[in-house]
């Protein structure tokens, strides 16, 4: 994947790896989402936070980045930071130790997590890339964002397979949501319109290896008006 002239490596786990800069970006962790549901009466398994951190730790151990950029909505709501249990806090601190850790503000977590290490920022620029939470309406070359939870449907041999995905047109890239309970939004939905005026490619996550699939080979769900 080339974004604004920079070679990036989308990873099957859903993190974006910029090997040359020894940096990874990850979007929409939604830590504490299970607990947020429990507060409203749905006692979902409380392990989502742990599961998400563990998967992130695996990716970090494998890719050994010097810089980790969390692209916002890292915490599902304000209570999620204060409600984090000791083990999760310790695990996040362990991961951040010796690394430049950047918390980009999201709409779910506008305030930076004061009790955790790392820098809190609205946006972060490095070389030709700008990391922010929400893709901007204005075309910003080199924008790396999350927020929309892109997913896509392919139809191999008459079946339908739906996966979270990276979406990029070479100018910007939108990352899939990484959180264990974070769902997906089809790339044909209106929320994406205007973001890729000249078409886009996707990279499906969760499989064995990453392949670029042209946007026009995807299934357009019938509920989305053209």
């Amino acid at each position: 994947m080339i974004v604004n002239g920079t070679a990036l490596q989308p990873d099957p786990t859903g993190v974006l790896h910029w090997a040359e800069a020894r940096l990874i970006a990850v979007a929409d962790l939604h830590l504490g989402k299970g607990k947020a549901f429990a507060r409203h009466g749905s006692l979902l398994p409380p392990h989502d936070t742990n599961a998400t951190i563990r998967r992130l730790a695996e990716a970090i151990t494998r890719l050994e980045p010097e810089c980790v950029v969390c692209l916002g909505d890292s915490f599902h709501d304000r209570e999620a930071v204060s409600g984090l249990d000791q083990a999760s806090l310790a695990a996040l601190e362990d991961l951040a130790r010796g690394r430049d850790w950047i918390w980009i503000a999201g709409n779910h977590d506008p305030a930076p997590p004061a009790m955790l290490s790392g820098r809190a920022m609205e946006a972060f620029t490095n070389g030709g890339l700008t990391f922010r939470h929400e893709p901007s309406c204005a075309m910003v070359a080199g924008e790396v964002s999350g927020h929309l939870h892109p997913s896509a449907v392919i139809a191999p041999k008459g079946t339908r397979i739906r996966r979270r995905c990276f979406a990029s047109d070479g100018r910007r890239v939108i990352l899939p949501a990484f959180g264990a309970y974070a769902g997906g939004l089809d790339v044909h939905e209106r929320a994406f319109s205007g973001l890729f005026p000249a078409g886009f490619d996707v990279w499906l996550v969760g499989g064995r290896e990453m392949r670029r699939i042209r946007g026009n080979r995807l299934v357009r769900p019938a509920w989305i008006e053209s």
């Binding site: 409380p46 392990h47 989502d48 939870h149 939004l185 392949r211 699939i213 019938a222 008006e225």
Partner: protein, 813 residues
């Protein structure tokens, strides 16, 4: 197994014989019978007598036997003599339509006899204000469904509502026992017994194989008397000899449509039953294609708009239709008047099901019902013959599962809590009085209560969000009103795929269709629905907008469920036909020839044998086995056998299953077939495979919904247009990885094994065929294997193969 003839003709010995003369009809009702020139039937009087003496009863009568009236006679008599004070009689039926129908009939009786009794229905259609009023001021007789009973019992005023209850009538009890709805009702009945001790229970059932099981379903410990109606005339069933040769495969019965049409034309009115909604659409289209006489032929199935169904039903009742093509929505109850002929297209799958459908013809006990079976392919013909043999020899199907669902019990615990604080010891003692839960262990019960209270997770993460709070006296009470409200919104045991309304551009609703079918269509694609062909214009919120289209080959919605495997009983008779040449004498020539050639080229299995054929084809090795245990069991077997073949180094590539056979293809020949179909298959591989399978995700979704872990998706949930799908699959993945012993995973596993995988049936089969493998190594495909081979290439994709598919889809590295 119980003999059919016993059920039809023999009256159980016991106290009932001395009842007969001691009771007569209450005067008002007696006059009402007389005014119509009717004689009360013996079983109606017996039921009245038994109930007058305080007994609970199970009334077994064929369709049209007047058993519903038998159930109500005591209530009418009691209300006539003593008047009512609060809810006297609760009538529970599996269908709303039955309640409405019954309310109308009863209302007429009450009006004309002058008995003072208020009769009301309570279903999903009852207006909110009316429901509220029914809680404060219940009618004398309430007609309702299992879901509504469970909900009513969850209100704090449950004691007021049910405190004076004298009679509970469960109609079509054979349809409920053994299902999740039946589990729910059994649990609700234990509550009613606690609220109004000593009331009578009356079960009404069609003829069944094992009435003792139904009796124990009904028994609250005080005993239940079985009362049988006199037998009806023996049904007159024939298998259609269609002019054309019967095909090897397929389910459309296209070859027989002209003959079906002629049969309809030659009688007054006919009901044409099919097994699935898609078959209904196809058969309806095909009949109209050749309807030169312009006969009134209508369509009826569960997806059609309510108005359209009602229109068809009333047209049929008026006698203005010649035929209705229908699915199981018409199996039960609602009286249609004279039907001259029942046509069953496709194999009937079970004796009880066939008898129920046949019962719709004639509908008068003393006239024989006429039925025509139309098999769509050769194996279905064998299956039809098997059903005829079973009926002829009087062998009925066995009973279904008996273990109650864990998810249903979780719902009951919350329902109980919603009505007031409860003592877990008392609740446990009540719950095990419900027969489906008689063997429930206290440990599992406590885990379920813990799940309801806190989610049941090992980390005590949710103490602050408890749904149940412990009181000082050891009772548990619901933590807040919001929890009770949420429960009432989400109660119920039926979890269906989300459905979309099919709507024309002018706004007219034609019916409903499963969401996943529509999501699989592209805009402009055509499909057959409600007897017409439509093109999809688009989806707007919860509507699929369509416009009429012309297309001779539209897609047909494939609906979840609706197709059942043949019962064990029918499968046994089918194997007898193959094993015993005498039984084949009645078969049509082309089918007999087919079996004769099979004997020459390969073999026909003995009644307890498992025939396994192997042969090379297109560079691969094929293995075809013939267990005749139905598609679900065969699919499980295919999964397990291919896993084992993998380990044996045979290089399995895929498999396909139908109701009769299983075909597996592989790179290399399997030499040791005995080891391949060993009973240990179910021990070693099942759990391992199941954990990763999408089947378990599917049952988890249902279980999690019924148990109240997640909320039901109510219509209109996609209104925002920016729908982030947060599926239960994500929850399942997290739970399986981090808490594999959670009680809901156990529930999902049990559910999958019992309902989707038929592991028990598979186990019985593997035990049966031990040492009886009939192996034939052939040069080419045998006649018997042809039908399943024709299905190769149309099989489902296993979830483990998804990665391969994604790879095959390509893209640039």
């Amino acid at each position: 197994m119980k003999s059919l003839h016993d059920d039809l003709h023999v009256t159980a010995p016991g106290p009932e014989s001395c009842l007969r003369h001691s009771t007569s009809l209450p005067e008002a009702v007696g006059h009402w019978f007389m005014a119509r020139g009717w004689q009360p039937r013996r079983h109606q009087l017996d039921t009245l007598a038994a109930m007058t003496q305080g007994h609970s009863c199970l009334v077994i009568a064929p369709t049209g036997g007047g058993k519903t009236m038998a159930g109500f006679l005591f209530s009418l008599a009691d209300l006539a003599s003593s008047g009512g004070s609060g809810l006297h009689t609760l009538y529970v039926a599996p269908l709303k339509a039955l309640c409405v129908d019954m309310a109308r009939n009863l209302g007429a009786v009450v009006d004309e006899t002058g008995i003072s009794a208020r009769i009301e229905t309570r279903t999903g259609d009852t207006p909110q204000a009316c429901r509220r009023r029914q809680r404060s001021d219940p009618p004398d007789i309430l007609l309702t469904t299992p879901e509504s009973v469970a909900l009513l019992a969850s209100w704090p005023e449950a004691g007021h509502i049910f405190g004076h209850l004298r009679v509970v009538i469960v109609d079509e009890i054979h349809e409920l026992a053994g299902t999740k709805r039946g589990d729910q009702l059994a649990l609700a009945l234990t509550r009613l017994s606690a609220l109004s001790p000593g009331h009578r229970r009356i079960g009404l059932s069609a003829t069944v194989a094992e009435p003792m099981k139904l009796r124990s379903y009904l028994d609250d410990g005080a005993g239940v008397m079985i009362i049988r109606a006199d037998g009806g005339a023996f049904p007159d069933i024939t298998i259609m000899e269609a002019g054309n040769r019967i095909p090897l495969a397929g389910h459309t019965a296209r070859h027989a449509v002209p003959d079906i049409y002629r049969a309809i034309r030659d009688v007054g009115t006919a009901l044409v039953f099919v097994n699935t909604r898609s078959q209904a659409e196809r058969v309806f289209q095909d009949l109209w294609e050749i309807n030169d006489d312009n006969l009134g032929i209508a369509l009826h199935h569960g997806s059609l708009a309510r108005e359209q169904r009602l229109k068809v039903e009333s047209a049929m009742a008026e006698g203005s239709l010649r035929a209705v093509v229908a699915t199981s929505t018409l199996d039960l109850g609602v009286d249609w008047g004279a039907v001259d002929l029942v046509v069953q297209i496709g194999a009937p799958k079970g004796v009880a099901r066939m008898l129920q459908r046949i019962g719709r013809a004639g509908h008068r006990m003393d006239e024989p019902s006429r039925a025509l079976l139309v098999p769509a392919n050769r194996f279905e013909l064998l299956e039809c013959q098997a059903v005829l043999d079973a009926i002829g020899e009087g062998v009925l199907d066995g009973a279904p599962r008996e273990r109650g669902g864990i998810d249903v019990l979780a719902q009951h615990v919350l329902a109980t809590a919603a009505s007031g604080p409860f003592d877990p010891d008392t609740l446990y003692r009540d719950v095990i009085k419900a027969p489906p839960y008689a063997s429930l262990e206290r440990g599992l019960f406590d885990r379920i209560v813990d799940y309801v209270a806190t989610g049941g997770y090992a980390l005590a993460a949710y103490e602050r969000f408890r749904r149940l709070t412990a009181c000082d006296d050891g009772t548990l009470r619901i933590s807040n009103e919001a929890t009770a409200r949420r429960f009432r919104m989400n109660a119920g045991t039926i979890v269906e795929d989300a459905r979309l309304k099919v709507r024309m551009r002018n706004g007219k609703v034609i019916g409903e269709v499963e969401e996943h079918f529509v999501l699989g269509l592209s805009v402009g694609e055509t499909f057959a629905f409600a007897g017409d062909v439509w093109a999809l214009v688009g989806i707007r919120q919860t509507d699929a907008i369509v416009t009429r289209a012309r297309d001779r080959d539209p897609r047909v919605p494939v609906y979840g469920g609706g197709s059942f495997p043949p019962t064990t009983n029918v499968a046994g008779f089918l194997r007898k036909i193959l094993a015993e040449p005498d039984r084949r004498a009645v078969l049509p020539d082309d089918v007999r020839e087919w079996l004769d050639i099979q004997t020459k080229l390969s073999a026909l299995p003995g009644v307890d044998d498992l025939l396994v054929e192997t042969f090379p084809r297109a560079g691969k090795m094929f293995l075809v086995a013939f267990p005749f245990e139905g598609r679900p069991a065969h699919q499980t077997l295919g999964m397990l056998m291919t896993r084992r073949m993998e380990r044996m180094g045979a290089g399995p590539l895929g498999f396909v299953a139908n109701d009769y056979a299983l075909a597996i293809w592989s790179l290399r020949r399997v030499l040791d077939i005995e080891t391949l179909v060993d009973e240990s298959l179910l021990l070693e591989d099942l759990d391992d495979w199941l954990a990763g399978s999408s089947l378990l995700k599917r049952s988890f979704r249902k279980v999690a919904t019924v148990a109240g872990l997640i909320e039901r998706q109510h219509p209109g949930y996609r209104k925002t247009g920016r729908q982030v799908t947060f599926s239960t699959d994500l929850i399942y993945d997290v739970l399986r990885r981090h808490e594999p012993d959670h009680v809901l995973l156990e529930a999902a596993r049990k559910e999958a094994m019992d309902t989707l995988l038929e592991t028990r049936r598979l186990e019985d089969m593997l035990v049966r065929v031990r040492g009886r493998i009939l192996q034939r190594d052939l040069d080419t495909v045998s006649p018997l294997a042809l039908p399943v081979m024709l299905e190769v290439g149309r099989q489902m994709v296993a979830s483990s193969a998804l990665d391969d598919l994604i790879d095959a889809f390509g893209g640039d590295p």
